[in-house]
Amino acid sequence: MPPDPPTAPARFHVVVDAERCKGCDMCVVVCPQRNLRLVGEFNRAGYHPVEFRFHGERGDCTGCGLCYWVCPDFAIAEVGALRP
């Protein structure tokens, strides 16, 4: 996945609470655009948390919210749409 460019954010944004994440991988495999991935660093609980990228392997986040609904730890805290 290429790194996010410093400007020009996508239409949707997912807020991840990395300290709650248990690295279960479920949001990663349900994301249709592959905007989420597990990082190499540990969180305080010792899990590899998930991180959100604006530009996924298959395109930008569409704000579908599937990651929000499957997350068992409320670590996908928010799905936001770009303010007009």
Binding site: P9, F12, R20, C24, D25, Y47, P72, R83
Partner: protein, 266 residues
């Protein structure tokens, strides 16, 4: 992150019914998924101040830590009886229980079936992960034949322990229940190894909401959520989802078994 967050308006976000306590469930457990679905339904219906959760025994007991509603702890398996009492004294309240399969289908089967037969206006959510999760992976009544557990090290033998019990069909066998549904809650594998389908969670969200609506209309609502327990199945999280899709889904087929008030499709 914070600078980016200001640009965005939350579409899905914090729910007033969730307390914010981090969950104690194992990674990838459907109990957490269901907790958010219940919180969402309570918020949408605006009934948080009138909701009483009856805690069962098992991993599901932890839900009172996460849901910002009043809660009563029932003796093991007796949640439907406690809910029936609450509703007979205070019919204006909404009451529900999240029961595990060890709680509802083993020790509490009698309470569940009699409450269903009486058609009590209560809502029972059954999380069926086919094993006793909290106590360390013993065989449950719902364990599929051949599954290795700590009490069936050679696999469950239907000759000595009988075949798995299908709670949804048992409840649907009575005339009185108004809403009986089974949902396959785990993410569903697709032919591609790293692509899963999240339909179960979306169907679960609707089923939870419908189950509450049926109770408000005076009917008994029962929803079984087929789930996973990767730790006690001794599988990886995604391997457990695949096992659930291959073994549990045909054994406990999802579907609508009763909808007397026709709440689905409205």
């Amino acid at each position: 992150m914070t600078a980016a967050a200001e640009l965005y308006e939350p579409k899905l976000g914090a729910l007033p019914t969730l307390t914010g306590t981090p969950t104690h469930y194992c990674a990838g457990c459907e109990h957490g998924t269901l907790t958010r679905l219940i919180a969402k339904a309570i918020d949408e219906l605006g009934v948080r101040e009138r909701t009483v959760m009856v805690s069962s025994v098992g991993c599901s007991v932890l839900a009172h830590e996460y849901l910002n509603v009043d809660a009563v702890q029932a003796p093991h398996g007796r949640a439907p009886a406690v809910m029936a009492g609450i509703k007979r004294v205070r019919p204006d309240l909404l009451t529900f229980a999240v029961q595990g399969d060890g709680d509802a289908v083993s020790i509490g089967l009698l309470e569940l079936l009699n409450a269903a037969n009486r058609g009590e206006p209560i809502t029972v959510f059954l999380v069926n992960n086919a094993i006793y999760g909290m106590t360390g992976g013993q065989m449950a009544p719902t364990t599929p034949s051949g599954m290795v557990t700590t009490t069936t090290p050679a696999g469950r033998d239907p000759v000595t322990t009988g075949p798995p019990i299908d709670a949804t069909r048992l409840v649907a066998a009575f005339e009185s229940p108004a809403y009986v549904k089974r949902v396959f809650l785990p993410i569903l594998p697709t032919p591609s190894p790293r692509v899963f389908n999240a339909r179960g969670a979306l169907e679960g969200a609707k089923a939870v909401r419908h189950a509450f609506e049926v109770q408000q209309r005076g009917g008994f609502a029962f929803v079984e959520f087929v789930s996973t327990c990767s730790v006690n199945w001794k599988l990886g999280i995604l391997e457990a989802k695949r096992y659930a899709a291959e073994v549990l889904r045909p054994l406990f087929p999802p579907g609508l078994y009763r909808d007397r008030f026709a709440v689905e499709g409205r």
